[in-house]
Symmetry: D2
């Protein structure tokens, strides 16, 4: 039985604690947070779980097999590294680290120590995202042409990372999982409305080989909560609306065909439109976080690779790191 | 009584013809289109209106006082110039011209000839946009912090201009009308899915003085029609959903306050959120195009400046021209 | 070429006039309305159409072949009768007449004179209703179990008929067209908020053989416009939302199965639920009123029966007449 | 500290258990259910709570002060009676009992024993319903003219009560709470699609003094979940959409005015429409069930009357009982 320790009982921590506590294949041994009042909450809800204000009580303790790092991003590297070096399996909240160098180092250490390193890209465990993946993989939507996501909301300004680092990992990880295309370069623009200069509204374009583009629109300052993604294919198009309670995925049998022009002038193209039926598939209803926690414990038990490896986490950090460089250079293209 | 001639009876032309035909303060004298079958449509619906396949029958004819140019963009400059030089008042479809130089030249010629030069930025005559303008101007939403518009649809690939030149003029003109801020620079990214290389998906960021940013997301290849604009203010925020039949404008009494930190470290900011009531104002229901056509005839009759002058058209073309340069330079910032 | 005369240029009249004017297979000869200012509108838009304030200029005129009666309901019988007796084909706005006796008499007169008698149940010419009919007829939704319609709005209080006579004909005619079940009895309840005692909110239950029920909820005093119909089948269920611009029909692959209980006690039933995919079929986009007017002229030309005959109109009036009796008797069941 | 026992850990029981377990002002002592596997769930989540399969371990036990009855409706009377006679305070799930006679008897016994008798009309503790009540009470919507509720869903066929007894108590209790009008009579219609003859689709009209009517549409066989209520006032109208996550209440500044007719004929009324702004008030976000459980414990502690007394529960049962009689008599009006 895997003994689990969780560091960080802030916004997302309670969800992690609940899911690992309910997981019959592991034992949630200990929870760490710097704030005593947060730990009292843990004790009230889970009397059998130990608590501590010192991260080392998890990172270096001999009775912990697996560590969940749910602290602010700037602590991820240090804590994950210490845990791996102390022979523990590690699950890190997204984004994996603050830099690609840190992410690469963690991957190396995990490999050397033969431990599982996993990142919590929760959306990859939802019925919606897996339905999209199967629609793309079985060719139903044809060639994927664009991915356009809007993830905006009011609230939760992060003190140490900008809105792209906070929100875009969800969508970048979905895109990578669904399409697995190789990005070429990145452009990012944004603005900060706070004295600390951290962007709270930002836009990210990721450029790929000819014919595919991804765009991410992120904001902490929208009065409405939008989590909407368009995925355009040459045959069909998908609208993924995560705010919708039941009809999250709509598949449009709509598109256009470019007619070969008999004309010499290739600028003269004829476009035929096609608007057809819409299909709303039923989705699996399992809780994504439960699937994620189960995957982590399974990977440890079986020595297998989890759905989201350290490498997957690194791919997301690469894009984020490049976006920061582009932001600093006023939107200039940054080659990956 | 002003005699009006309209050149171009394509997608938008029929709407222009209908509105000028119904306008009691002018006479729709003649319609020109290169396609005979289109002109037959005109004759069937408006037996008293003359038709011709030659633009000169309007541009140089002595019985025409005012010309409406509703042809493809690449013809705007040439036709508007000829009309002005022949002593006619001119209304041009958006965007005014293909370049700032052309737009400036038209403005000069109009001034020299003492003729009205106007651009059809139709949305500026809607109840929704005028309600937004009044909410901004009376201070109800506080300082405007961002403008974020999505205008996407399936269809109507233009053969001579990209999707930004086609769709963004609507939103840029709305932003200029509502806020009248001075843009500093532009970044644009996009992709083409047709052999002619014309972008059918594109993203435009317009940068302003610190604390304000505008972003425009445009596509001809979305399976759903979205015309949504967020306008964030320091006090309230507006959502403008033009697809909504009646509830187009929602004013959110929501926002956040940045608390001054006693700490030396200005990175440590405290954010207080506020989520309050939502107000959906009743809007004026007049047809925008009727207001636009009336404004043109009024300006001619009174010698006054219409709501949308040549200068207003030029401001939009400036942003578009810079966006094309940025697109060519892989998203690089282009100073205005 | 059939010469058409239209009596009544009120709320619906302009739509009828427009469609018959555009119909190439007939000539709209004359329009009658008691109000001179309404007729001036006709003359302005259709200079070649004659106008008159006297219904007899259509009902008894020798140059009219077909009469469209678009007057208040209490005039339908008298005008349609006169027209038929003068050898004209007749199209009557819904509901056909104020009573079943009148409707039966019109049917008889039409038969005796060998003339077409048709009722304008416009919705039967929409893509949405015809899609529903085909889904029911091809067995895709299984046995139809209920029909539940809500048609509410703010406005248009009628001075001579209550809200059921005004709005329910749409839904009753749709139900009859789609299912063609034989109703057994009717219950109706309602209330009036005006001094004339005419119900502006009313509810109608139509009872059928065991296992099928239809319910109609009608109101002139709702702040929101709702036109929603649920059609439950033993295999699938349909939601028809006529306010929705494009996604009017949703077919739910959802339902329940009643398991035979091994128990003697038939009250102990086991219900298995099934929630599956949703399908939104593309609908034909033709204007319903154009299809209706074409059908009328076709039936005259070919001597065929139109989609909506006098008998179809009578079936609707039967239910309405019974509803009035039930309303007077405080909701008591009225046998048809 | 009040010791609480809960009988019934079925559909709603877990919510009750969770809320009473978290309530710091009482001790959840014991949970009873006939099914061992349900009780194991309780033990897993709340190790300190005792369990039993015998209702008497709560109803007659000396260490229980307050009993929550969450069993099927046919058991409510017997269990509540026994609890009250054994000197316990009692909270009963809606509807209070299967008959008015039983409800009256419980009220008497509670009064005689000086114990709290309360019914769980949960919606009366929601922010939405309390906002509606304040809008009605402060006169903002004017005279209330109608109440029209639709509560439909797929699922949860009850074996012992029909759909009106299951779903309408929510809406009847809301109506009584908001308006407190005295109903005069009831009409109900419905149909059963199961062999046990229990109606799964039913419609209820409740008649009041002239000018007010309430209608309830209930179904277990709708493919879509709808919980929508219209409340029409002489000044404004309210739409309450409980499925909407945040914008549950919309207040429409819309209506109509009946103009006094100079005419002798009172049938000739002039109606003026008014369509104005829409207001979406922010609502309190407290969990309704927590408010309900707190109210119960408070009433016991202070000897005060809870928000929903036995009398309030009786008023709801009166309407339901009359609806059953009307259903049996084919929709005939049943006087209350």
């Amino acid at each position: 039985m895997v003994n689990v320790g969780i560091i960080g009982y802030g916004y997302w921590g309670p969800n992690l604690v609940r899911n690992f506590a309910q997981n019959g294949d592991c034992t949630l041994k200990r929870v760490v947070d710097m704030r005593e009042e947060r730990l009292q909450q843990v004790t009230k809800l889970y009397p059998s779980v130990e608590t501590s204000t010192s991260a080392d009580d998890i990172l270096t303790s001999s009775d912990i097999d697996a560590v969940v790092v749910a602290t602010p991003v700037f602590l991820h590297f240090e804590q994950a590294k210490k845990a791996l070096e102390n022979g523990k399996h590690v699950l890190v909240e997204k984004p994996l680290t603050s830099s690609t160098q840190e992410a690469s180092e963690l991957i190396e250490i995990a490999a050397k120590n033969n431990k599982t390193l996993m990142v919590d890209h929760t959306f990859l465990y939802t019925g919606a995202v897996n339905k999209i993946k199967s629609l793309v993989e079985n060719g139903e939507i044809g060639d994927v042409q664009y991915f356009d996501s809007v993830r905006i909301n009011l609230g939760l300004f992060q003190p140490d990372i900008n809105v792209l680092w906070d929100l875009a990992p969800h969508d970048i990880s979905i895109l990578n999982y669904v399409c697995n295309f190789k990005p070429i370069s990145v452009n990012a623009t944004g603005v900060s409305h706070t004295p600390n200069g951290i962007e709270n509204v930002a836009y990210l374009t990721v450029n790929y080989e000819e014919g595919f583009v991804a765009h991410f629109s992120c904001s902490w300052t929208s009065p409405v909560k939008v989590r909407n993604t368009l995925i355009g294919g040459s045959k069909k198009m998908i609208v993924y609306d995560d705010v919708e309670p039941t009809e999250k995925i709509k598949v449009y049998d709509s598109g256009y065909d470019v007619q070969p022009s008999s004309d010499e002038d290739k600028r003269k193209v004829l476009i035929d439109y096609r608007i057809g039926d819409i299909h709303i598939p039923k989705l699996e209803k399992t809780e994504a976080l439960f699937g994620m926690s189960t995957d982590f414990i399974d990977a440890i038990d079986k020595g297998s690779t989890p759905k989201v490896s350290g490498e997957d986490g690194l791919e997301v950090v690469k894009v984020l790191e490049a976006s920061t460089e582009s932001l600093k250079n006023k939107g200039k293209e940054v080659i990956l």
